[in-house]
């Protein structure tokens, strides 16, 4: 049951999905659950909507985790966020204000087929599990498949590469489903956050070019505040800045697409660590990693309620 669910271990896709149903069942005032579509292998793409049903056109924040299958700390954070938001609604005035004034769309596992495959077959699988007509290799990098400068620098057109952009933009059902949802709700969604690992960075557009976004000052300030909040938990340092210069140039990424789609604040978190455990972050580090990231995400959301 919800109270016995262990947020400090990694969970399989089946466990996460039954946990989502349980969150939906036990929190009728604050939670709604829906599917935005089906994955390549036909699995539902579940999303939890968190927020008080106070008024229809509330501003919203979208958070997705598990775009890359092997980055298990991502889904762990999305579950942690839901747990913290619901459990602190009554006694934390900041969280209460956020859930009263905003809706949060939480997608704990974006790449459901790949995540399932990383639990059952290949722990280091990254891509989706779509088949390619001409090559034996499977999968597309779900963070190179968005319709923004698609398949240019920093992506590969070879189906066997880990950064394969796909046969065409939004070829992946998972990408198409989320893009369709965000296009439909773009007037209300004011922040898009995608959780990845590992590198300890907070990245914002552009990924595909060395240029400055029009609302740079507001986004930079939000990132700086978020990274300071993160540091305040355990003194862990995160670098932050435009993805193209802070990490490397990549095309077809979700934060660039969301930004170009009109969402003014779009971020990619690269969670712990910087390369001691890599993708194998031990379960003992789930709690501190999620606690510090929670602080950062709360400051980003709080910033949406102010004018910049």
């Amino acid at each position: 049951s919800a109270s016995q669910y262990d947020y400090e271990v990694y969970h399989s896709l089946e466990e996460i999905q039954s946990w989502m149903f349980e969150m939906n069942r036990t929190n009728p005032d604050l939670v709604d659950m829906f599917s935005v579509g089906k994955s390549y292998e036909g699995r539902p793409l579940y999303v939890l909507q968190l927020g008080k049903r106070s008024r229809p056109q509330k501003k919203a924040v979208w958070i997705d985790c598990g775009v890359h299958a092997r980055e298990w700390i991502g889904p762990a954070f999305c579950q942690w966020f839901v747990k913290e938001a619901l459990s602190s609604y009554k006694h934390d005035s900041v969280m209460r204000r956020l859930l009263n004034q905003l809706n949060f769309y939480i997608m704990p596992v974006f790449n459901v087929d790949g995540y399932h495959f990383s639990w059952t077959t290949d722990r280091f699988w990254r891509k989706t599990r779509s088949k390619n007509r001409k090559f034996h290799c499977r999968g597309v990098d779900a963070n190179r498949n968005w319709k923004v400068k698609w398949c240019e620098e920093g992506a590969s057109s070879h189906p066997c590469d880990d950064t394969y952009c796909g046969p065409y933009p939004e070829s992946e059902p998972e990408v198409k489903a989320v893009a369709k949802f965000l296009r439909k709700h773009k007037k209300r969604v004011k922040a898009y956050i995608s959780i990845h690992a590992y590198a300890q960075m907070l990245l914002y557009p552009y990924s595909y070019k060395y240029a400055t976004i029009p609302n740079f000052n507001c986004v930079e300030s939000a990132a700086q505040t978020a990274v300071s909040a993160l540091y305040s938990a355990y003194g862990v340092k995160y670098r932050y800045g435009p993805a193209s210069t802070t990490l490397y140039v990549t095309s077809g990424s979700s934060i660039d697409w969301a930004y170009r789609n009109g969402i003014p604040y779009t971020f990619a978190f690269e969670l712990r660590d910087t390369g001691y455990f890599g993708f194998l972050l031990p379960e003992s580090l789930i709690s501190p990693t999620c606690t510090e990231t929670m602080r950062a995400v709360k400051t980003i959301a709080t910033g949406l309620l102010k004018k910049c």
Binding site: D6, S156, D162, T163, Y248, G275, G278, E283
Partner: protein, 99 residues
């Protein structure tokens, strides 16, 4: 064993190419092995003074050690037995709990 013990003996190298020339040699060395790049995600993204984390199958680790030493390229192994780390990350607890 988890994953049928398929990662027994696999290692994860952290390579530090310091010059453009070393970047070229690292790309060439890794291009001739079947490796799983952890960071960055593709050979084309390997850059000077940026670390390269690469998962190497057990039967290729010796060859990679030899090549990197021959080329005097700075590196270290940060996961010496990948299977063991995987077991540690989720371990039998989760399968026992699942049971």
């Amino acid at each position: 064993y988890l994953y049928n013990n398929r990662y027994a003996g696999d290692q994860v190298f952290r390579i530090h190419p310091n010059t453009e020339e070393e970047v070229g040699r690292v790309k060439s060395i890794l291009g001739h092995l079947k490796v799983d790049l952890w960071q960055p995600n593709s050979l084309s993204l390997i850059a000077r003074n940026a670390t390269v984390d690469v998962h190497v199958k057990s039967n290729d680790t010796l060859r990679l050690h030899t090549r990197l030493k021959q080329e005097h390229i700075s590196y270290h192994v940060f996961i010496t037995n990948l299977q063991k780390e995987i077991e540690k990350q989720t371990g039998y607890r989760s399968s026992r709990r699942r049971r």
